[in-house]
């Protein structure tokens, strides 16, 4: 790694650039180091606490090829091939192959998994999957700390904390680097690279509100707002499934916390206001089926007036399981879970947990080939797979190929004049102190206002067209924003990336004239169209979004 002082700030040169320091970035760093590839990991926050893994995770998904039912590679690949368009069997095969090395690292750093009676690790079924693939983690709250300790000592890996990435650079459709600013010092930082792994997180939050109206009180980390897509899209990466990948979960009432996978897969029952269990109407696997069905089912009950309130009832489970759920899994999933329970007087043994439908998180994938390389050469997709396991293994396999390519790729050249011009643009809101200037909440709030109003669980085409126009209006206000300090400047950047992803989402939704594949219903196209059993990609062409369909592969 070279560090060069420039008039505009600091330039780093490295072979591999790892964008983002969450679970996916961790996976990428592990593989880069193993392959002896010099890499810089760069992101907001500190490696110890950044991303959705920061405050805990309680499950890691892995099919392990044992003689337990449906634990083999073929079943795993077949399940995920059906879960999203754009996956390739070779990609999923590599994900499966990465389970064991990633689990070995988790073991090495002291992750405790719930043991199974008679030996091995306990696993349960989740999300309508055929096999029991979900390992239970007992000390989830410290996973990220423990991984960070290892990564900080790894050869060839350098970590740059506290950097907000504002731009990626590409030349002749090959990635050359990125730039951003240090949120504590304001210094401009740029990194030139030979290859890059995008690990900026595929769940974008703050696109909508839950019942509390606080966008930061959300399910996934609120500091991941779509940069994975927006920054890559800007340099030419194609995005797939932006129309249908939006998702949400059932939240404990009033609180942005996960945990529903544990509750569903341990056998929790969802009840409506009348005390009736209803999920059988919406999924053959009831609560432990597809999360989309749980949300759409609950939404339907709500429309029909059978709730709110809704509850997750665990009282029928055996005492040991309920104790494991509330006192082991939940605080492993979110560090403050028991404080919430104490504040609300919640005891899973005696009272059903009140829940609500959470905010919609936007998502999708970067269109990638068998080697996880995106449509921008040298830029690899680190966050195309779901959950903790998908993020860590996804970074791991992307870095495997990127490290190979780094041996022959040339060093990206970043232009000082271009960086200086972008720096001036990035910092401009600090100069704007006009009373008419928009604060980050005044800029970002209207995005949610549009999305919640026109792009919720029930929508129609004219509404989405209007929503897109309103988002264009918000875009026109980008040069009216102001920031008092670097914290505000960071939030503004998060808002910009969020806005771009919302536009990509709506643009894609307007092409898909059917109901049934995404987490929303269209009143003007209420039925599933069998001809649309294919993926939709969006790519920037000559400054405008351009769509194309991706045929399903077997």
């Amino acid at each position: 790694m070279n560090k060069i002082q420039k008039e505009w700030g600091t330039l780093y040169e490295t072979d591999m650039l790892i964008l983002g320091t969450g679970a996916s970035g961790v996976g990428a760093a592990l593989k880069a180091s193993e392959k002896g590839c010099e890499a810089i990991m760069i992101g907001k926050g500190t490696l110890e606490s950044s991303g959705s893994l920061g405050g805990g995770n309680d499950h890691f998904m892995a099919a392990l090829g044992t003689d337990e039912p449906h634990d083999d590679k073929e079943t795993f690949i077949n399940f995920y091939m059906k879960s999203a368009y754009g996956y390739k069997r070779e990609q999923l095969s590599q994900w499966y192959d990465a389970f064991k090395p990633c689990l070995a690292v988790l073991d090495e750093v002291g992750t405790e998994f719930k043991p199974k009676e008679g030996g091995g690790r306990f696993r349960s079924v989740g999300f309508g999957q055929p096999g029991a693939w979900w390992l239970h983690i007992v000390n989830g709250r410290t996973i990220k700390r423990n991984l960070a300790k290892k990564i900080r000592k790894l050869p060839h890996i350098h970590v740059l904390d506290d950097i907000v990435i504002t731009k990626l650079f590409a030349e002749n459709n090959h990635i050359t680097g990125c730039m951003g600013f240090n949120v504590l010092t304001g210094e401009t930082v740029a990194v030139s690279c030979k290859v890059a792994i995008n690990c900026l997180g595929w769940h974008a939050q703050r696109a909508g509100n839950n019942s509390t109206g606080n966008p930061f009180n959300c399910w996934f980390t609120p500091f991941t707002t779509g940069s994975y897509f927006s920054l890559a899209y800007e340099v030419g990466a194609a995005i797939i499934n932006a129309d249908i990948s939006g998702r949400t979960t059932m939240l404990p009432k009033g609180w942005g916390a996960p945990g529903m996978n544990g509750i569903n897969n341990m056998g929790g029952h969802e009840l409506n206001a009348l005390g009736d269990r209803f999920m059988g109407k919406y999924d053959p696997m009831w609560e432990n089926g597809k999360r989309r069905n749980q949300i759409m089912g609950t939404e339907q009950e709500q429309l029909e007036g059978y709730g709110p309130p809704f509850y997750m009832d665990m009282r029928h489970l055996n005492k040991e399981d309920v104790h494991h759920l509330q006192y082991v899994l939940m605080p492993a999933d979110k560090e403050t879970y028991l404080d919430y329970c104490a504040a609300r007087g919640i005891d899973f043994h005696t009272t059903p947990l009140e829940v609500e439908i959470g905010e919609i998180a936007l998502s999708g994938m970067l269109l990638a080939d068998e080697r996880m390389e995106t449509t921008v050469k040298g830029l690899f997709a680190g966050c195309n797979f779901t959950s903790f396991s998908g993020a860590m293994c996804g970074g791991f396999i992307a870095a495997n190929h990127a490290a190979d390519d780094a041996k022959t790729a040339s060093q990206g050249i970043l232009d000082d004049a271009v960086i200086s011009a972008h720096k001036a643009k990035d910092m401009a809101p600090l100069e704007n102190q006009k009373s008419t200037g928009l604060s980050y909440m005044e800029f970002e709030g209207p995005i949610r206002q549009v999305m919640d109003y026109y792009a919720g669980f029930r929508r129609n085409m004219p509404g989405m067209e209007l929503a897109l126009k309103r988002l264009d209006l918000i875009t026109a206000y980008k040069d009216k924003v102001k920031a008092k300090n670097l914290h505000d400047l960071m939030r503004l950047r998060e808002g910009f990336d969020l806005l771009e992803l919302c536009k990509i989402h709506l643009f894609a939704c307007l092409q898909r004239k059917e109901t049934g594949r995404g987490m929303y219903k269209l009143s003007d196209y209420p039925n599933l169209d069998p001809n649309l059993d294919k993926g939709l990609a969006v790519q920037l062409k000559d400054g405008a979004p351009n769509c194309f369909w991706i045929e399903k592969t077997a």
Partner: protein, 70 residues
């Protein structure tokens, strides 16, 4: 509002401030007995508990905002 700092226990190491992914905690070692949450940004706390995980002296507890209780 979360988090709440116990001045008896806090050793003013600043670890919670460094590891808060929201950048909403502050500690002026010259004047402050404990860190504090920056009033203007307290709604950005996502209750991740990273401040408490980092704390070497068990000085942090949580008080949930009213909107999470209704």
């Amino acid at each position: 509002m979360p988090p709440v700092f116990n001045s008896e226990k806090c050793v003013r190491c600043g670890k919670c401030v460094k590891d808060c992914p929201a950048y909403i905690l502050a500690l002026d070692k010259k004047t402050d007995k404990t860190p504090h949450i920056i009033e203007e940004y307290k709604f950005e706390c996502w209750h991740c508990g990273n401040c408490r995980i980092s704390c070497p002296s068990d000085a942090i507890s949580f008080e949930f905002p009213l909107y999470t209780l209704v």
